[in-house]
């Protein structure tokens, strides 16, 4: 069972996808359990692998040959990739459970009165596509060569496109096209960057990128990869796709889109900062400025929203920039904290998006102004939203609190050791967190506090969702709190890799 752990975590969801399609004839809707159990199994594998590494085990290196020795899939499970993969897989597993009721509701809303068989087909189609997310994410986390990363990055737009087109909201086909075009745009630049690397080093291996250090080609490689990364992270001026895509995606799994965007910061570290540390220095200040602008711009954009889903989508733009700011400070603490903040953010954002899913599922309303007072009827959902808000705003005991602390320690260090501009960015960045507090807790006030909307007062349907929807989110919240109370579990692992960067 513990053989080829990394490969298993990639392959299992990919195998489960056709399995549930085939199994639907026998088990009907219940074949979605194959997806859930498969994800639980791969999460368990990752827990074992991470635990071993924590106890001092060596990083896991796997080389798998496909079609002879020429085509290989090289995987690396180290202190960076394993904890990130574990948390991401945990989120995928939780959302596989959480989405059950929601997606039934969505199918009914889109396709109306349809026969049971067609409904089951839609349902199974959703889960089969959904499984491509964990496949892609695990691949991106573990791939140790550029073609591998490119391949798995290209897998991700598939579920993004089809789930959007089939289960999204208003104007879903057009938005699906938007998401696809942006994915292609980003991937194109990544491919050019990868080809430059191959042209200069004769290899696609990430380890070989370091050979380019100090050459002009390194500069252009960084530029190419950066376009991909900044577009994925929706950094201003590439932010324009995110409010559409995140807002129109099926809400129950939109949390994964935060992972889809935020994982770019991991790629940046793996592909650019570690191998090309010195060459990357010149990009540090411009990227920090872009991050600061994005933090403020995203926050103002969020404050201007009235749609509950666009609210969460726009806040993602602002939040992603924090990780970017931390990592681009090019200090060990900044990178450790930036990565940890990435995990804190995706956990908090998944809770927020999925709570929004519960609200939309229950009330059928997206306009926040028409909500209000829901705390009286949905106390558990309110608690979940507040926990998510605490996560985004960096309150203890959520894991984003130590992450923010460590990250800003690094950012201030960069400011105090570097230019005055970086110090100004550090001070402004810390002050800009106020915006997160404002929009997160303002949303609590608008949606949950105040008098209850009259149309909800006598409606017995307005209540907390079934446990199948809330328990997975509580599990995410519990994990976020556990990591907040004991952040060393993750920070120590990150540090094993990050401390080797020669700053």
């Amino acid at each position: 069972m513990l053989e080829h752990i990394l490969l298993q975590t990639i392959i299992i969801p990919a195998i489960c996808a056709p399995a549930i399609i085939l199994g639907r004839r026998v088990f009907g809707k219940q074949s979605a359990w194959i997806a859930r159990l498969g994800l639980l199994y791969s999460t368990m594998l990752l827990i074992v692998a991470t635990f071993k590494l924590t106890l001092g085990g060596a990083p896991i290196v796997e080389q798998h040959h496909f079609a002879g020795p020429a085509i290989t899939l090289n995987l690396l499970g180290d202190g960076l990739s394993l904890p990130i993969a574990l948390i991401v897989n945990l989120l995928c597993s939780a959302l596989a459970f959480h989405s059950d009721r929601y997606i039934e509701h969505r199918i009914a809303a889109i396709y109306g009165e349809i026969d049971k068989k067609t409904a089951v087909n839609h349902y199974i189609r959703f889960y089969a596509l959904f499984l491509l997310f964990p496949t892609g994410f695990m691949g991106v986390c573990f791939a140790s060569n550029l073609i591998g990363i490119y391949f798995f990055l290209e897998i991700l737009p598939i579920p993004l496109f089809f789930i959007m087109a089939m289960f999204g909201y208003i104007d879903r086909v057009r938005v699906a096209m938007i998401s696809l075009m942006w994915a292609v745009f980003g991937a194109g630049f990544f491919l050019v960057g990868a080809i430059i690397v191959y042209y200069k080093t004769g290899s696609f291996a990430i380890a070989s990128i370091a050979q380019m250090a100090g050459t002009p080609a390194a500069f252009w490689t960084i530029v190419m990869f950066l376009v991909t990364i900044l577009a994925k992270m929706a950094v201003v001026p590439f932010q324009v796709w995110m409010p559409w895509v995140d807002a129109e995606y099926p809400t129950s799994i939109t949390g994964l889109l935060a992972v889809y965007a935020n994982i770019a910061v991991y790629i940046m570290l793996r592909v650019l900062i570690i191998p090309l540390t010195a060459d990357f220095q010149v990009f540090s200040l411009p990227l920090m400025i872009m991050a600061l602008i994005t933090m403020v711009y995203g926050a103002l954009l969020t404050l201007g929203q009235t749609d509950i889903k666009r609210f969460a989508a726009c806040s993602t733009i602002s939040q992603l920039a924090y990780s970017l700011l931390g990592v681009c400070s090019l200090t060990i603490a900044g990178i450790d904290g930036g990565l940890f903040f990435f995990l804190g953010h995706v956990m908090g954002k998944t809770i927020i998006f999925s709570s929004a899913a519960i609200i939309v599922y229950t009330t059928g309303i997206r306009d926040m102004r028409q909500l209000g007072g829901l705390a009286a009827k949905m106390p558990l959902t309110t608690a979940l939203w507040i926990i998510g808000a605490m996560g985004l705003a960096g309150f203890p005991p959520m894991n984003s609190f130590p992450a923010e602390w460590v990250m800003f320690t690094g950012i201030f260090k960069a400011g105090l050791m570097g230019s005055a501009a970086k110090l100004i960015i550090a001070v402004a960045g810390a002050a800009a967190i106020t915006f997160s507090v404002v929009y997160c807790f303002r949303s609590v006030k608008i949606i949950f506090f105040g008098p209850l909307n009259e149309q909800f007062a006598d409606n017995d349907q307005i209540k907390d969702p079934p446990l199948s929807m809330s328990l997975p989110l509580l599990a995410i919240a519990a994990t976020a709190i556990a990591l907040g109370l004991y952040p060393g579990i993750v920070l120590d692992l990150f540090h094993k890799v990050v401390s080797t960067i020669p700053f």
């Binding site: 938007i178 050459t215 002009p216 080609a217 001026p237 324009v240 796709w241 409010p243 559409w244 711009y297 103002l300 954009l301 404050l303 201007g304 929203q305 726009c314 060990i332 603490a333 450790d336 904290g337 007072g373 705390a375 009286a376 605490m390 309150f395 203890p396 609190f401 130590p402 602390w405 460590v406 800003f408 320690t409 690094g410 201030f412 260090k413 105090l416 550090a426 001070v427 810390a430 002050a431 967190i433 106020t434 507090v437 404002v438 807790f441 303002r442 006030k445 949950f448 506090f449 105040g450 008098p451 209850l452 952040p487 060393g488 920070l491 120590d492 990150f494 540090h495 990050v498 401390s499």
Partner: protein, 674 residues
């Protein structure tokens, strides 16, 4: 001894789930759990009291490593005179308030949530005070902010009866949920700026441990001071947090609205927890800047003390003027808190301005914190009982309440006299100590402001007591009586806790000089002995400053009390005076809070929302239109049409040219590639 300190922190936190679990059994068990944990925490703190009597054993520390990478962060406690005094105040007053809550919140549907939050609030404050490093202190700091948000906005349904800010005809009303959010955001601004200051300190000192910071300050502070602007920056950033939490100018506007929560919450925030944390942190940071000024000889370090003293003086005065015209009972007390905290800041600020006033200033500031905690808790709890009985938050709806609530009147009267600074109650000793230290430091402008504020304090306190308990009954009360809702004394559990606090005041007043001496001895031992700060003996003065301050102080009290007594003995007289043209303008100016709140609302709330609208509906929409509508049209329709036209019109000439140009450029590029 460490164990008791750890238990004091942990017990209220355990209380939170314990209350929840007990609530499933029955209300009695839940109530028991709600008070048992704060009382046990208070007992643990009292067990540490002997350390104050024998301060030679202090400081004590206990810690363990929390995070090892990328740097070491620890979780630990520090027992020194400052933290010991604070935990005693916090835990004992909080426990008394927790008991009062059972009566006040009886029958409230949200009582479980309320009691859990109160326990969390107490635990967070004790964590903040006992933390031995700035990180853990910041954890407590943030949790306190979060709890206050939840408790101020406790009546989250925003029912009209809980709105504040009126009377409706005269001023816009505010909802509890808005007040909670305002508190969170305004204090949050300060918190996050302070975080930056802490991180800069960490960069230079390589530690966040408080004792290590003090001990190594002579080494790292000069490094920090190599850039004098950095000292200024750090000073402003570090003070931003306490200014926000202690509701000092210019971040003071949240506290008057924090009264939207239930009465005991106001008592907790004003007396025992939230606002005291700012004073505590200033006192905590003082040795660092004192070393910077008097050891490292960095003159910019003096800015810390100057700002502290002036912020305190300005705030004390502004808030007192607002208290003179406030119409809501709890709001008068809220302005009073802001003003009194200002006194504490004056004491602490003046302390570091000379080498001879450090111990005296620290003692005066912290002594006033203790007296304020007790009399303000008593005032708020009594006010809660009065509001309960009068079914109104406005003092003009009261009048003559003394006959219905004799116990409450008595206890509130004792606390009110104490607030005015009448001898021999504790605030007399502590306030005079602050005034005296100002005089000794020859800080006359602040001394004058503080003395004027004494008169204003006496004025608003007398006005409040006259309008609530004396004079004729208001029409509102008469109406209540007609509806058989005659005001009555509070429940025994409520008035007895007020009585306990009043007794504490009397006891502390009787032993005032002894307490002051004890505090002085402790701080002297800690600052001069343990931390080895360079102090100087105060020189002899020709004038007896003690006597002078006492005379001036008593004179100011009379100058405030007598006119207020005359004016507010009869409501008609007060109304007539207010309508006089000079007083009318002044009244409006104070009533509108010097227009500071309106300015903030206009600039920060309206301004931010306007900016958000511009970003969301102008910039982003146009950007979206350009990228997702115009660009696709350009690429898919207009460009092919253009190329098609060029192709037909120029017979492929341009196409060939473009291809050739492309090939040439590519060749040059490859040739130049190293």
């Amino acid at each position: 001894m460490h164990l008791y300190a750890w238990l004091a922190i942990i017990l209220p936190f355990i209380g939170v789930p314990a209350i929840y679990v007990a609530s499933f059994v029955n209300g009695r068990l839940r109530n028991l759990a709600a008070i048992a944990f704060p009382i046990m925490a208070a007992l643990c703190c009292l067990r540490l009291l002997p350390l104050l009597l024998h301060p030679g054993q202090l400081p004590l520390q206990s810690s363990w490593v929390w995070v090892t990478h990328p740097f070491i962060l620890e979780i630990g406690i520090l027992l020194d005179p400052l933290s010991l005094i604070l935990i005693l105040v916090v835990s004992v007053i909080s426990a008394i308030i927790a008991i009062y809550c059972l009566g006040y919140m009886e029958g409230d549907p949200g009582i479980n949530r309320f009691l859990m939050l109160v326990n969390l609030f107490i635990g967070s404050m004790l964590l903040l005070v006992l933390a031995n490093n700035l990180l853990l202190l910041f954890v407590g700091w943030k949790l306190v902010g979060l709890c206050s948000y939840a408790l101020i906005g406790f009546y989250y349904k925003d029912e009209r009866k809980y709105w504040i800010g009126g009377p409706e005809a005269e001023a816009p009303l505010t909802t509890p949920s808005f007040c909670g959010l305002k508190a969170l955001v305004v204090t949050g601004v300060g918190d996050l700026i302070m975080l930056g200051g802490i991180l800069i300190i960490f960069f230079y000192a390589h530690t966040l441990n408080l004792m290590e910071l003090y001990k190594t300050a002579p080494v790292w502070f000069p490094e920090l001071a190599q850039n004098p602007n950095m000292v200024v920056l750090v000073t402003f950033m570090l003070l931003a947090g306490p200014i926000g939490k202690s509701a000092q100018f210019p971040l003071h506007e949240w506290l008057p609205e924090a009264m939207a929560g239930p009465g005991p919450v106001s008592a907790l925030i004003h007396a025992a927890t939230m606002v005291k944390s700012g004073v505590y942190l200033v006192a905590r940071l003082m040795p660092i800047f004192y070393i910077g000024r008097w050891v490292a000889d960095c003159h910019n370090a003096e800015l810390f003390f100057t700002i502290t003293a002036w912020v305190g003086a300005i705030t004390a005065f502004i808030a007192a003027t607002q208290g003179m015209v406030a119409k809501e009972l709890k709001k008068i007390l809220a302005f009073s808190t802001v003003s009194q905290i200002g006194y504490m800041w004056i004491g602490l600020g003046v302390a570091g301005l000379t080498q001879s006033t450090l111990v005296a200033g620290t003692t005066a500031g912290i002594f006033h914190l203790i007296s304020h905690a007790i009399f303000k808790a008593c005032l708020f709890l009594c006010a809660g009982s009065v509001i309960h009985a009068a079914h109104s938050i406005y003092i003009q709806d009261m009048g003559g309440m003394r006959r219905y609530m004799p116990y409450t009147w008595l206890f509130m009267m004792i606390a009110a006299i104490c607030l005015m600074g009448v001898p021999p109650l504790p605030a007399f000793w502590s306030k005079d100590a602050i005034l005296l230290v100002n005089l000794k430091a020859h800080n006359l402008p602040i001394f004058v402001i503080a003395m004027i504020t004494v008169a204003l304090t006496a004025f608003y306190t007398t006005r409040m007591m006259m309008m609530v308990f004396y004079g004729s009954e208001s029409s509102h009360l008469r109406h209540l009586k007609e509806e058989s809702q005659t005001p009555h004394e509070a429940l025994p559990i409520m008035w007895s806790t007020c009585g306990l606090l009043a007794l504490l005041l009397l006891a502390l007043g009787a032993g005032g000089p002894w307490v002051e001496h004890l505090l002085h001895h402790n701080f002297d031992l800690n600052l001069a002995g343990t931390l080895k700060l360079p102090l100087k003996e105060a020189g002899e003065h020709a004038v007896n400053y003690h006597l002078l301050v006492t005379c001036l102080s008593v004179g100011s009290i009379l100058a405030g009390t007598i006119p207020a007594g005359i004016i507010y003995r009869k409501h008609e007289r007060a109304i007539k005076l207010q309508s006089h043209s000079v007083f009318k303008e002044l009244h409006i100016f104070f009533w509108r809070r010097w227009f500071i709140d309106a300015f903030y609302n206009r600039v920060f709330i309206d301004g931010t929302l306007k900016l958000a609208d511009i970003v969301a509906f102008k910039i982003e929409n146009n950007f979206d239109l350009l990228i997702h509508r115009r660009l696709p049209v350009l690429v898919t329709e207009k460009l092919p049409r253009l190329f098609l036209r060029l192709k037909t019109e120029t017979d492929n000439f341009l196409y060939i040219g473009a291809y050739l140009m492309g090939i040439i450029l590519l060749t040059i590029g490859l040739a130049m590639w190293p």
